[in-house]
Every structure is written in C-alpha cells, then in structure tokens.
C-alpha cells in the first residue's frame, strides 16, 4: 500500500438541504480517499447520498442545499472552502463528472462540436477553435465513435443513448483531469451497451492515469471494475476497503445483506434473501446506528452511532457487531 498523499481525501463531509419540511441530511459524515489512478466504487441504494457526495466534491450543490461541514482535500486545496471562481477553474480541468441520464446530459440545441470545444477553450482560451476541434475529433475516436468528423457537426438527438454517454465521457476527459466522478453512467443503458461503456471508461482511465469514482447501486459492476469499494447508507459510509476484501468478507450487516440479496445461480431454488424494512427518511434519521431498525444483529449497544474503524487492516466498518466470519 503506497503511503503517498492521496489525490482526494474527503474528511467528515456534511451536506444538508434546508427545505420547507425540515433539514435533509443527505451527506452526514462521509470520509473517503482516492489515490492517483485508483478506481473507487461508491455503492448504496437510492437516496443514500452518493450522488450528493459527488456533487459536493464538484461544488455543484444547489440551494436549498449546501456543504455545512468537513473538508475535501484535493491536490493540496480544500474544495469545501474555495471561492467559486477557483472551483470553476478546477471543474472540467482537474476534476470532471458524468451523469446518469445520457439523454439529458447534452444540450439539445447545440452541436456536438460546440459542446466539446467549449470545454477546452473555457480553460485554455489560447487554443484556437480549429485546434480544439481537432482534439475533439480525436477524443471521439478514442471513445470508439466512428466517422468522428461528421459526428462533430451533428446534434445530440441524432445519437443513441450509448453514444451520447460516450460523448459525455469524451468531453469529461478532454482536458485530462486527475479525477473523474461517474454518477451511475450505465444505469439508464442496455446491458450490452453497459459492458461497452464500462470497458471504454476502464481503458481510458488506465491509459491516462485518471482516478475514478464510480457511483452505482450495482455491486456486480463495481466488483469487476473497482480497486476499492465504499458502501454508503443513510448519508454515511458504513464499510470501506479493497474490493476483494469487501465483497468476499463483508463486515457490515448491510453490506452482507446487499450481497446476499443479489440473485445468483449458485443459490437457485432457495428463497431470495432481502433486507427487511425500508431505509429511513433523511428527514427523520433515527438515533444511533441508522441501520439499527433493520439489522438482525442490533442490540442495546447500537443506540450510539458507531465510528468508522479499521476492524481488519485496511478494511473499515461502522458497526459494533461486524461479521467476522467469512461470507456464506
């Protein structure tokens, strides 16, 4: 394990939304690290705060939400405290993000070329339009889009979903950022296209040394792609560690439940396991461990919120009763 300073270190991040109905604590104490060139999978169910975590890192949290605490250390700067102008200089240049729905990511009334060259020239105004165009064309070829020259002049609605997502990836990587945040980019796509996109992203990141945070609810995808995994529940990280460790020996009951609930061929015929109950509303988080009401191992000790601690070397869990036995 390298002891170099991590590329990104999020420390106790809190992002709350101040709505008419109360305070929604979407992210309530998230800490994670990403090293250069590493792929981190951020996993959790809908509403657990993983997307908001991504937005917080990018500084794209809109009112009524805002970052209320914690630090986001990136290449020596605390993103949480930076002025907007500095954040803007970093976005698209050192940190990039792609979103879930490729149909809506690209502006329907602008040509692909415009949407690509503007990303370059926003950060490098000295680059001529012609030069930017050439780089855009090469980027399109790199993500596997043929006839790149004609595609540049086209509009987004003339592309399929998978191709639009490729364009988005190309745009994100145009300026060779150090970190790419991918927010469930394959959820809205067909399974076969999913595999292609995954492959492209993996290849590109390895080639350019870009670190990747892959946000997903799909453990299988993360398992094949990531070096490390962080599991989120109700606004907090509940388990974190190298991917093989987490998937083969899940410590936290929630992680175990997640893995166990995936239908799999080895267990054909056996009833599907599920985690009982529902995730708590972020408006009314229970006291102590948020998973308490659904956990088969909960007891009086769980009244107090456990800390995220290293139960095993390099493998952290936020639980006072972690599973220490191997996964069934």
């Amino acid at each position: 394990m390298s002891t170099a300073v991590p590329l990104l270190a999020v420390e106790d991040l809190r992002t709350h939304f101040f709505t008419r109905h109360g305070i929604v604590k979407s992210v309530d104490g998230v800490s994670l690290e990403v090293r250069r060139g590493e792929v981190l999978g951020l996993v959790g169910e809908s509403g657990c705060g993983k997307t908001v975590t991504g937005f917080s890192i990018m500084g794209l949290v809109d009112p009524p939400g805002r970052i209320v605490g914690g630090r986001i250390l990136f290449e020596g700067e605390d993103l949480a405290g930076l002025p907007e102008e500095r954040l803007r200089a970093l976005r698209g240049e050192r940190i990039a993000m792609i979103f879930q729905d490729p149909m809506m990511t690209l502006n329907p009334v602008l040509r692909i070329e415009t949407q690509m060259t503007e990303a370059i020239r926003a950060h490098h105004p000295e680059v001529s339009q012609a030069a930017a165009r050439r780089r855009a064309r090469d980027a399109l070829s790199q993500v596997g889009i043929s006839a790149a020259e004609e595609r540049l002049a086209a509009y987004p609605h003339q592309f399929s979903g998978g191709m639009r997502q490729r364009v988005a990836i190309a745009i994100a990587l145009l300026n060779r950022p150090a970190l790419l945040i991918a927010d469930e980019p394959t959820t809205a796509l067909d399974v076969t296209i999913q595999a292609q996109i995954l492959y492209e992203v993996q290849k590109l990141c390895r080639e350019s040394g870009t670190a990747l945070i892959w946000i997903s609810h799909d453990l299988a995808v993360v398992g094949g792609l990531a070096d490390a995994v962080a599991v989120m529940y109700a606004g907090r990280i509940v388990e974190q560690g190298p991917v093989d460790d987490v998937l083969d020996r899940p410590l936290h009951p929630y992680t175990r439940g997640l893995i166990g609930s995936v239908p799999s061929r080895n267990r054909r015929g056996a009833p599907l396991q599920q985690i009982p109950g529902m995730a708590p509303s972020p408006l009314k988080l229970p006291e102590g461990c948020s998973f308490r009401s659904r956990c088969p191992r909960a007891d009086a000790d769980c009244i107090e919120m456990p800390e995220l601690s290293a139960v095993l070397p390099g493998h952290l869990a936020r639980c006072v009763h972690p599973h220490l036995e191997a996964s069934p």
């Binding site: 990018m58 794209l60 803007r88 200089a89 970093l90 976005r91 698209g92 240049e93 990039a96 993000m97 792609i98 979103f99 729905d101 809506m104 990511t105 690209l106 502006n107 329907p108 009334v109 602008l110 503007e118 990303a119 926003a122 950060h123 086209a154 509009y155 609605h157 003339q158 592309f159 399929s160 191709m163 988005a168 745009i171 994100a172």
Partner: protein, 325 residues
C-alpha cells in the same frame, strides 16, 4: 422539409378560402347585398340598375364566385366614404400599422427577455417578486385605459411627448417609415409602449418559467461541470433552449398585436388600418370592412405559416429528424 412547407401552404390556402366564404356569407347574409357595392344614399332606380348590372339577382353561390374572382384580382369594391378602391386604402395605411406593431414587439423582447431571465434565475429575490407582480399587472392593464393615462401624464401634464398622430416619415424602398426621424420617434414612443405592455408581460412570464425549468436540467449542470463561465452557461445553454418557444409564441402573437393595434391607433389617432376599420364600422363603409377583414385574415395566416417554418428551422430536433443509431 419542402413537403412540410407545401402542405402548410395548401392548408393556409384552404383556410383563406374558408374565411373568405365566411366573410362573404356574413356580410351578405346580414345586410342587403347591394349595400356592399353602392352608397346607402342611392335611390330606388339606381339600386335596381346596380342590382341587375352587378348580377345580384343571380344565386348566392354564383355571386360568391364572382366575389372571389374579383378578390383575386385585387378588386374588393370602392369605399363609400373615400370613393377609392378599398384595397388601396388598406394597403396605404398598412405600413403605419406594421411599424407600430413591430416596434411593440421589439420593445417586448428587449425589455421582457432580460427581466424574465433574471426572474427565472433568482426566483426568491425581492426584485423577482416585483417583476412577477409587475408582469401580472402588465397583462391586467386594459390597453385602452393605459393609452389614455399615458397621454394624460406625458402629453397633457408633462408636455414631453406629442399625444396624437404619426411623425415625419422617410421613404425607404417605397415604404414610408417614421422610426427613422427624430420627430417620428417622438410620436412613436407612447403608442408603441402602450401596445407593448401586455406583450412585455407575456415575454417576462415565458422567459421566467422557461428559465426556471431549464436551469434544473442535467445539461445545464453538465455545462457547469465542464467549468464554463456562468455567463456562457446562461447566455448560450439556457437562453438557447428558452428562445425557441418564446420566438414561436411571439410570432403567433404578432397577428394579435396587429389586430389589437385597433385600440392604440384609435386613442393616438395613428393613421393605420386599425383606425380606418373603426371609423368604417361606425359609418358602415362595407367595402372597407370587407377589405380590412380579408387583409388581416391573410396576414394572420401568413404569419402563422412563417412561424411554423421558423420553428422547424430553429429547433434542430425538428430540422434533422429523429435519432439514428
């Protein structure tokens, strides 16, 4: 694309014919058909002669075709009051009306768009609420009353601007335009403001609601994630998407503005077709009424057609058809 235009042209032609039939039936069915062609002061003998000479004893449908044939040749009868071809009268006054209508639309965009954009981007500020309330006020104000009040304040009390008439004109490409002279502009200001008020309100509301919707779209967030300057995000990404519906609505509204200029022209004694029609209705100068109706119907149909074509040109989704894999 050409198929589309051709189809719309045909539809428009059909509508025009239908409207001409309606107008014809309306005017002829209500009053004595002779009245449309001769002065009401004519005596019995003249009426009898005219009836025969103009073929008015023929069946109605035959008369309609005669009317239609005449209309296609630009002959819509002579005005009783002015004793000139009614169509000529209309065409002479059309530039004044169009100038007024056009100025009002320009004002609507220039004033309404920035205000609406601001209001949509920052909906919670006091200024936004003021703009919102102002826009409701804008389309609640009765145009004719505002015109009177404008005259009262600016012409009578303050004496800054003239209260009636059109200013000095300059002939450009065979058309008289008053907006190119200082005197002309002074005369144009009050009527144009009067006519534009409710359109400004409309543009503000369209721009504000459009902006509010677009600002939360993924593609705007993606643009920000690219690190684009806020001004570019707003002026290129947001504006580009709200302009298309605004332009289409405004285009369609132009027909309404031309029709509504009737009110403003009456109050400000602006020599356009609106003023003509009001005085013609008062004295029952039927040839002019018919000519006005046909001209306005034609203009409205033409504008609607142009807007349809414009829309399909502006929106790339319509222009370039659906997605290919």
């Amino acid at each position: 694309m050409t198929v589309f235009i051709l189809r719309r042209l045909m539809q428009s032609a059909v509508v025009l014919v239908v409207m001409s039939a309606l107008v014809f039936l309306g005017v002829f069915a209500i009053g004595n058909p002779v009245d449309i062609l001769i002065s009401p002061q004519a005596d019995q003998a003249e009426i009898a002669r005219a009836t025969a000479a103009l073929g008015l004893d023929k069946p109605l449908w035959e008369q309609y075709f005669v009317f239609l044939a005449n209309a296609l040749h630009g002959n819509l009868g002579n005005s009783f009051v002015f004793n000139e071809p009614s169509l000529t009268l209309i065409v002479q006054r059309l530039p004044a009306t169009l100038e007024l209508a056009f100025s009002a639309m320009v004002l609507a965009v220039v004033l309404g768009l920035p205000l609406g954009l601001y209001s949509g981007l920052r909906p919670q500020t006091a200024l936004s609420r003021l703009i919102g309330a102002g826009s409701i006020l804008g389309f609640s104000l009765p145009t004719f009353w505002v015109g009177i009040m404008l005259i009262m304040v600016f012409a009578v009390q303050l004496g800054w601007l003239p209260s009636t008439g059109r200013g000095a004109t300059v002939r450009v490409l065979g058309v008289d335009l008053s907006c190119l002279t200082w005197d002309g502009i002074k005369h144009l200001v009050l009527p144009a403001i009067n006519l534009s008020l409710s359109r400004i309100a409309l543009v503000i509301r369209l721009a504000a609601s459009g902006t509010r919707e677009v600002v939360h779209m993924d593609y705007v967030k993606f643009a920000r994630a690219k690190g684009l300057r806020p001004s570019r995000v707003i002026l290129v990404h947001v504006l580009g998407n709200i302009l298309i519906p605004i332009v289409t609505v405004l285009g369609l509204e132009t027909g309404a503005v031309i029709a509504f200029s009737v009110v403003t022209e009456t109050i400000f004694a602006w020599p356009g077709i609106g003023r003509l029609i009001i005085s013609s209705i008062a004295v029952l100068d039927r040839p002019v009424i018919v000519a006005y109706l046909m001209m306005t119907v034609f203009l409205v149909i033409l504008i609607n057609l142009l807007v349809d074509i414009l829309y399909s040109v502006l929106d790339p989704r319509v222009r370039y058809g659906e997605a290919r894999a």
